[in-house]
Symmetry: C2
Subunit: 361 residues, 2 copies
DNA sequence: CAGGTCGATTAAAACGTGTCAATGCCTTGC
DNA sequence: GCAAGGCATTGACACGTTTTAATCGACCTG
């Protein structure tokens, strides 16, 4: 068998060294070890039930054959898969990335894989994603829903896939678990900060008004102004951006500044750090800057907020913990027989940096 | 049956309205429509093979029973699942997020779900993730490997899961498809820019040296200096950061500036925008700034790069297209019988902003 | 030594789907 | 009127795993 290999004219494309081997199943392992498939399964899942000697024999066979178990068969039998879904509004937003890290880490500890779905704030994509999770018979889901109603989530639960709501505080606890940061408190903290600095005309740059977070943070802001004797209706103007990203923030500056220097707001509070960063940039392009011409406050405390000049004053959310906690609630629902839906609230924290300052006159 | 429901002391936790229904399978649909399961399967997968009338009957049954197909059974039968893995080095890095969006969008068009795995630049986590994909019998994988060798990827392929390498230019095309941006050209462009501005002492702030990208970009930089008659060994100093994030960049400033104003570099070229942003911050904390005291160049053109002040000069990569192209190559490998491994190279593009300026004397 | 108990192992049945060969029916051509 | 052919549908099996009830053997006890 020496000399050059004969070229075979037809047949599968040459795979040379990286030959694809025929898949080896639990039966092959059983045959090799001289036991029944059931015993192999036991070795894999409840090693304590099988005698030391046979267990070692099986383990050796597993190793020799390089067996890797097939989770399709596993899930089919179990009626559910061992992965959970994570549905976010925007993969690109670092806030969600951080949340995802929290979810993934705790899921990983429990041996669950995470399927990341991206709704891009579109109801249609969300629906498709939810359906996909149902088809996969996902063990569970962590969901940040796009629109107000939670119909999709309920449907998913009816299909046998429990879900945890993330970043939505307004849902009653008997529907599902939920984890959120107190958005009202966040808006309140930002508002009080501005009031203390003497601001009396503030513009709220909101994301899409369908998002509960945006509405509630506004409510907090208004409460803070009312608290100090101002009329919220007169003191705060609302500008709505189409999406929660920097580009939209930059574009919105035009409208924020409308009315000329006389009626121009003294401060802008944004639903989001991305928006706020866009605003900072837009101001710069117009020869203005924070906090000299205008104070700017963001929300989330994304990593970037601390990197820009001036640093962005913002309301920090425990992003990683948010994701980790959501996943932990989900695990509780999956494992604890006596699970009760829970409603977890985190407290936001104001981080003061350079983008806000006292009104000077 | 009027009056309050009797409380049953034991049993499953009360599910009230959101009753979990018994799962409905293809057989239930078949029974309801008065056909065989096989026919239902055909309606779902090859509708053209079934007569108009029966097809409608089946479709109605599907609707009435709210049937959703079980992809575990499906994958078991098919021998492979309908999801692909995406293994990234760091979910938190916006560069990867953008790549992920590209992968996800094109995968979605092809009806594939994406499982996002995060190796966090740790070989152990990468190995676990690869194993998971094998267990899932993933249809394929897009992988950005941590360490130099591609053993994991080869093993995965031997298990029947084809993989596409992302952002690794140094792999020979007969192993697997690969998509990358020409890192040498990127480093070269950055280097030439600095040379043109008169810089003769530049520090390269590198990420972990295991990463091929970091090494090749350095090579490009050195080539640019050599090109103009400078001795690379004398002109460029290398500082290695532990991770590719802003925090490490900030910490590295200390070492970058070591030697005092006399021997201080005139420019810093970073493996990464995150590092560069960290450097900008670190400079600010020491009362220094770019480009006055030091020019700074990044890599990736992350969204933030355009938002900071001064804007970060950087080497832009087509992030979204990178992900989309990788996924498209994978799809080709999955569907085209006569697939040949391909090696796709994108060209980087220098984006000049405010963080670089001519050396003044 | 018979009866009983316990631990380890096995055989067989399910999970839900896709496929393939076989069946039945209707049309067409002679 | 009958054979041939085409189309729609069916029945049965296979995919890989887990689980339950049953079996087997060994050891202990009265």
């Amino acid at each position: 068998m020496s000399g050059p290999e004969p070229t075979d004219p037809l047949g599968a494309p040459a795979l040379s060294s990286s030959e694809v081997k025929r898949p080896v199943g639990i039966n092959d392992v059983a045959a090799r070890a001289g036991v029944s498939p059931g015993t192999v399964s036991n070795v894999l899942n409840r090693p304590e039930r099988v005698a030391e000697a046979t267990r070692r024999r099986v383990e050796r066979a597993v190793e020799e054959l390089d067996y890797v178990r097939n989770s399709s068969g596993r899930s089919l039998r179990a009626g559910r898969s061992d992965s959970v879904g994570l549905l976010v509004l925007d993969v690109t937003n670092p806030f969600f990335a951080e949340v995802a890290r929290g979810v993934e880490d705790t899921a990983g500890e429990a041996g669950l894989a995470v399927v990341l779905l991206n709704s891009a704030e579109q109801a249609g994509r969300q629906r498709r994603a939810i359906r996909l999770l149902a088809e996969q018979r996902a063990a569970g889901a962590v969901v940040m829903p796009v629109d107000g109603d939670t119909a999709d989530l309920l449907w998913l639960r009816k299909q046998g896939v429990p879900g945890v709501l993330l970043d939505r505080g307004d849902v009653s606890a008997d529907i599902a678990c939920s984890v959120a940061v107190d958005n009202h408190a966040g808006g309140l903290a930002a508002g009080r900060h501005l009031v203390n600095l003497g601001h009396e005309r503030v513009t709220y740059l909101s994301g899409p008004a369908d998002l509960e977070q945006c509405r509630t943070r506004l409510a907090g802001l208004r409460a803070a102004l009312a608290e100090s004797g101002l009329d919220p209706d007169a003191a705060v103007r609302v500008v709505e951006a189409e999406q929660l990203n920097a580009e939209c923030g930059e574009k919105a500056v035009e409208e924020v500044l409308a009315g000329g220097p006389r009626k121009r707001p003294q401060a802008v509070f944004c639903s989001n750090d991305q928006l706020a960063l866009g605003v900072l940039k837009g101001l710069g392009e117009r020869g203005l800057s924070a906090p000299g011409d205008l104070s700017v406050v963001g929300y989330d405390d994304v990593a970037t907020a601390g990197l820009v000049h001036p640093g962005l004053t913002t309301v920090a959310q425990p992003k990683y913990d948010l994701g980790a906690a959501a996943m932990r609630l989900l695990l509780s629902e999956l494992n604890d027989a006596d699970h009760r839906h829970e409603r977890l609230r985190f407290a936001p924290e104001l981080v003061v940096r350079g983008s806000t300052a006292a009104v000077r006159d």
